[in-house]
Amino acid sequence: MSPTAGQQVHWAGPWRPYDIVKEFVIALLVVALLTVALAAIFSSPDDKPLTLQRWAQADPSDFVATAVSELDGTSASSGYGAPYDHVAGTGQKLGPISLEHAAGVRIPVDPAQDFVLTPLKAVPNDAALAAALSTYEGAGSSQQSAWATNYGDALSKAPNGDPAQVASGDYGPVPTIVVSLLQLARSGGLDGALISEGRQFYASDYTKPLLFIADGSYFAQLASDQHLAGTQWGMMNETGQYPGQAWLWLYTFWYQIKPFSTSSNADVEVWALMMILTLGLILLPFIPGLRSLPQRLGVHRLIWRDWYRAQDRGAGGRTG
């Protein structure tokens, strides 16, 4: 077959007939059938999401302890820093630079107000709660912190972290506040309140309820039960027995080894390393040494074995 006018000649022959459209149609049918078969046999996982209501009902001690940590500033959200809040000394660094800080606080979250106080202000017909909120917000920040810290310490010492068994002490209105929040959560009212904050009808941003849920231990325990925790190579896993994300093997691998496993800047360091490796993959054709690796490795002889055998059989052909 000779090239037609205008055709890019990248190969002078020999050729073979090849029906790429038929190949495509067959491939599509094969993959579609495989997909249907796999879907029919294995289905897909759908573990119900954790609601604040379910959390408050299943583990009220953890819920209350988390609510207190939002007030005393010891929760993960309270001490997070950018992009949620301004907290000195936070933010991972790559050398001297904190990219996190450079980006700034663009998703403002005030855990004490957003997760605890604001939702409670909307609760009607509760004079005791209204008085507790008024007392709390009327006090100075150091008094608020002292009440919350005292109560948090006492909770941790109470049997099963049960608020009803906390020893007496100087906690101010904090017990009333967090127990009211627990009741609001158990009724189901807190889930909607956190996402809409009384201002939105349509809401699709779950930043606040998710940050609050993630501050608790109950959520992490559920994940650990499903082998999703970081120490369990969880990034590669899926709930139940379903295949996970095997292609994340290299990303999660770095977290398991030093220096990343003991570094406080592990996330940004691993991302930086992965970006370098990613650039290496993309620009492989231009990297001396790496770009000549395939020919040295010789796997191509297996791929093109029919071609090389034919050249060996032919008279005077080079075999590469």
Binding site: W11, R16, T35, P45, I107, G230, I282, P285
Partner: protein
Amino acid sequence: MSLAPSEPSWTGALRERVAGALPPEQLLPDRQPAYVRSWIYVFGVLTLAGLICAIASGAVLALEGAAWWHTSSVGHFVNSLHLWSVELFFFFMVIHLWGKFFMAAWRGKRALTWITGAVAFLGSIGTAFTGYLVQSNFDSQWISTQAKDGINATGAGAWFNVLNAGQMLLWHVVLLPLVISALVAVHIVLVRRRGVVPPFGAEEIPPERRVAP
């Protein structure tokens, strides 16, 4: 039928340029070089088939809305089709990528083919990631709350908020599929334009002495 424009025009110039770069017999050739004779070659088209199945099943999910699959057994099955087509897509793509590596398929002015493929691979990982985030179940909650730390550490989390399900849904359904589809289209056009990479040493053999397998 002449393709030459009747008088100078942008349309005519573009048509001439496109037709010259990729004439129909090269866009849809019915022949390939004789060395295109290995099972590795089917993994590219299998990857494409996986992508089409993923987009098609995703489109059905979009028809009924993001929460449909939680309350409908048909919806759950379509979600399963979407999951498994993506699993197959990645499986075939990884083999395709390794095959192209061992073939050093970037040779002969094919660097851009490699680059578009590599970027499409990475973009697909991002698309799959946002897909996990919009399942609206426990998995979405866990993955988003864990992933946020890594992404926030890079500074990107200030704009790309994995906890914002609405944002992630639009990225997953609109933005990323458009980008991936465009990359895949360019990738395939480049393969047709440059042809399949020859074996090492094949082009050094004089054409009249090459033997078809």
